[in-house]
């Protein structure tokens, strides 16, 4: 009687359930044919259900009971939101068919024999038995109608139908939980690598726009670059590069820059501070189409070099600290309308030239004198100085 009442709505639900389960692990690709085979089967399944209206359906009837009462503690090992590795209690897993049929502790369910089935046994123990499931601390005993249902399912042969297990589904749920704090949790598999990047900057068309369609550099090309420079991706998973001379400044001269031309289109940041490059290298550098950050601190580059750089109109940040670049060079930068930062401290550049450049690129920030604090009062550093060797 009761079972019949349950069955009617479930019969309708059934059409949807298996299809849903199959979709979840696949995630985003809406465009893909959605497991076409499944819907075709459903009507047939439905008819069979009607024919054997009395047969307990595992997925529709038994699994929800297990999921509600048991699976929280009895599922495949996973990492919870706190990063803790969780193992199934007592080594018993109820979220996969394998777990139930051939678990570590042996068969939890013996077909047609509820009384030999550990699953049925442990949920029917008296409430004060310490082995009774769910444990008194975790929940109430299952109501009689659910016990009867599970018993009947076992008696009928413990048929799982096509159900194999909810591993993928359970994982997805856990990860979703973890993600909730960081933000939206939909479409995660696609967005994951970029993660937090979809903040307010995403619309600015930064790196993403610059590198659209740019292939990753090959291993050989990387190796060539690494012979002279230190090379890293400009951002995680980016095809754009940050190329620096750290630790090898004395060996980097104009010839080394020429070696960069093979990867010219990939270089977004180039740090040549304190190297031996001269104006002769600038011609190569100025043609790098995606170069946005150039650091020439303390190099021998002069006005001529900076005039040549005027062609690099995509440049956003230019560091000329401690060079001999003067007003003529700075004036040539007025063509670099994308310039956001220009550093000219410790150079002969005059304030007049800075002001002039500022008026032609109003959005640029031009740092031309250090805002250093006054030295410390002697009283404050007296003790410390005494300690100095």
């Amino acid at each position: 009687m009761m079972i019949l009442r349950h069955l009617l709505p479930f019969a309708a639900l059934l059409a949807a359930l298996p299809a849903q389960d199959d979709q979840k692990p696949q995630g985003q690709p809406e465009g893909k044919p959605k497991a076409e085979a499944k819907p075709a089967q459903e009507p047939k399944d439905g008819k069979e259900k009607e024919a054997a209206a009395d047969k307990v359906d595992f997925v529709a009837q038994v699994l929800p009971i297990l999921e509600k009462n048991c699976v929280e503690c009895h599922k495949a090992p996973y990492t919870d939101a706190d990063g803790k590795k969780k193992r199934p209690k007592g080594g018993v897993t109820l979220d996969t068919r394998d777990g139930i049929e051939k678990g570590k502790k042996g068969k939890l369910v013996v077909s047609t024999k509820p009384d030999d089935s550990m699953l049925y046994h442990s949920i029917t123990l008296p409430a004060d038995d310490e082995d009774r499931m769910p444990p008194a601390k975790k929940g109430d005993p299952l109501p009689q109608d659910q016990l009867d249902l599970i018993k009947k399912w076992i008696e009928q042969g413990a048929d799982f139908g096509t159900w194999k297990g909810a591993e993928a589904k359970a994982d997805a749920k856990d990860e979703a939980k973890q993600d909730k704090k960081a933000g939206e949790d939909q479409k995660k598999s696609e967005d994951k690598p970029k993660g937090d990047s979809k903040g307010k900057d995403a619309g600015k068309g930064g790196l993403a726009m610059l590198e659209s369609g740019l292939p990753m550099l090959s291993e050989e090309q990387f190796a060539t670059l690494r012979a002279h420079f230190s090379v890293e991706p400009a951002a995680a998973d980016s095809a754009l590069l940050r190329v620096t001379a750290f630790g090898r400044e004395s060996s980097i001269d104009d010839a080394a820059i020429a070696a960069l031309s093979s990867a010219s289109g990939h270089i977004a940041e180039l740090v040549l501070a304190r190297t031996h490059v001269t104006d002769a290298a600038i011609a190569t550098i100025a043609t790098m189409p995606r170069l946005v950050h150039l650091d020439l601190r303390g190099t021998k580059v002069t006005d001529d070099g900076v005039v040549a750089l005027g062609a690099a109109t995509q440049l956003r940040s230019l560091n000329l600290y401690g060079t001999s670049v003067g007003d003529r060079g700075i004036a040539a930068l007025s063509a670099c309308k994308n310039l956001e930062q220009l550093y000219v401290c410790e150079t002969p550049v005059s304030a007049a030239a800075v002001v002039a450049l500022q008026s032609s690129i109003p959005s640029a920030r031009i740092v031309f004198a250090a805002d250093l604090p006054e030295p410390m009062a002697d009283a404050d550093q007296g003790n410390a100085r005494a300690r100095r060797r």
């Binding site: 900057d201 230190s230 601190r297 007049a352 250093l372």
Partner: protein
């Protein structure tokens, strides 16, 4: 840096805004030799990347627990404030304690997080938590944030260590369960630089090479019999030391190469010298530098002690921010001022303040951080966080995010346990420009 420029500026300033002109003139008129600085908006301009990219991190650690009320989160007029007055800063509405007049002039570059909150009120445990994001446990040694960053983005300068700790003693952050080459190089006294890094007297390069060669031969058999990680790591640390000895970058550790003027601008204190050395290391591409300042555990005579402690921080930090900015390095270098917890709003009978993890403050600047702002709020008396609480893990996640790490990446320790760079922390995205 040079007065000529300011006279030129005044005459050339017709095109600048009146406000810019007045502020520049004021500086020139007051005879400052260092003055303003930058034309254009003071916002931290965006690098063209969709996410921040701090290439270097300087972590200034005030060990012992800095009183938030007396430094970064003053509450003028509150009963808990004590004798320390509040200063206005270059950032509208952002106040600092009176010991930070120079930092006040740099506040357009920095962001105070005044809603730090944790539950750990014991020094070693709280310091460990700050540096690793995890509670101290007997069963595992967690890697420090510096080790995570090196692991995540590698070194920029192969000759120098990726992580250097300047000053301080006691318990140091470690590479934890990461391979030993992520371990930080400790330098006790920043003024004396790296010790014992040159060949012994009388040993020329040829002889040194022959000795290394001999060492290699003697080790070869052992190495082939024990082809395991720890043996390789030992070899690698030898090789790294030799690379460093031969490196032209050894000079990076020598602050005697800085002018006396520069030395006194940073302050000739241990902390100031540490900041100056940190700047030199950043110039040489070292990823992570920690500068430690000790003595902040002011249980008694809090106010006297602060007046001794704070000026070196004020000097060193403001010099560091200004100098990095002038050199064009602030945009790519994240500077963090951190401490393991705050101190009690209530002042006890010894004029002391005691441990108070419930509410405290840290400061971030550069590396894509928006300057001139305060994030989060404590109540009128500095007792409770009432807005935007930030956990230690959140702070570390913010640092990791700035450095280009994915805070979601799970790394499994050799014992099979999963860890993330900032545990459950989430980066505070609002802090980024």
């Amino acid at each position: 840096m040079n007065t000529r420029r300011f006279t030129d500026l005044a005459s050339a300033a017709d095109d600048t805004t009146r406000r810019a002109f007045v502020s520049q003139l004021a500086r020139a008129a007051f005879g400052l030799t260092s003055g303003s600085l930058a034309l254009g908006s003071a916002r931290a301009a965006s690098l063209p990347f969709a996410r921040p990219a701090a290439r270097q991190v300087i972590y200034l650690f005030l060990r012992g627990g800095m009183s938030h009320l007396d430094t970064l989160d003053p509450k003028p007029g509150a009963g808990t404030q004590g004798p320390v007055e509040a200063l206005r800063t270059r950032a509208d509405g952002v106040l600092l304690g009176q010991y930070f007049p120079k930092l006040a002039q740099q506040m357009d570059k920095a962001c105070i997080v005044s809603s730090m909150s944790s539950k750990q009120g014991a020094h070693p445990q709280a310091q460990y938590l700050m540096r690793t994001s995890y509670e101290k446990r007997g069963t595992i040694q967690h890697p420090s944030l510096g080790a995570w960053i090196q692991r995540g983005v590698g070194r920029q300068n192969e000759a120098l260590p990726g992580h250097v700790i300047l000053g301080g003693g006691g318990e140091m952050p470690t590479a934890g369960f990461f391979p030993p080459h992520f371990q930080a190089l400790p330098i006790g006294d920043p003024t004396s630089g790296l010790q014992n890094a040159t060949r012994a007297r009388g040993i020329d390069e040829g002889r040194f090479a022959r000795r290394l060669d001999l060492l290699g031969k003697m080790n070869a058999e052992y190495r082939s019999r024990h082809d395991v990680r720890d043996v390789a790591a030992y070899d690698e640390s030898y090789a790294a030391a030799v690379r460093l000895m031969r490196s032209e970058d050894l000079a990076a550790f020598d602050i005697d190469r800085e002018s006396d003027a520069m030395r006194s601008i940073y302050g000739e204190t241990s902390f100031g010298s540490g900041c100056l050395l940190a700047r030199r290391l950043v110039e040489h591409g070292v990823r992570c530098i920690e500068v430690v300042s000790d003595g902040w555990d002011t249980h008694a005579d809090n106010f006297d002690r602060l007046s001794d402690l704070a000026p070196s921080i004020d000097q060193g930090l403001s010099a560091l921010l200004a100098d990095l900015d002038a050199r064009g390095l602030l945009q790519e270098t994240l500077v963090v001022l951190a401490t393991e917890f705050g101190r009690t709003p209530d002042i006890d009978q010894d004029q002391g303040r005691n441990h108070y993890p419930k509410a405290f403050s840290c400061l971030l600047a550069g590396g894509g951080i928006r300057g001139g702002m305060r994030y989060g709020k404590t109540d009128q008396e500095g007792r409770e966080v009432i807005e935007n609480a930030v956990s230690i893990q959140d702070l570390n996640a913010t640092i990791a995010h700035a450095a280009g790490l994915s805070v979601d990446e799970v790394v499994t320790s050799p014992s099979g346990r999963p860890f993330k760079v900032a545990d459950k922390g989430s980066p505070i995205l609002e802090l980024f420009a």
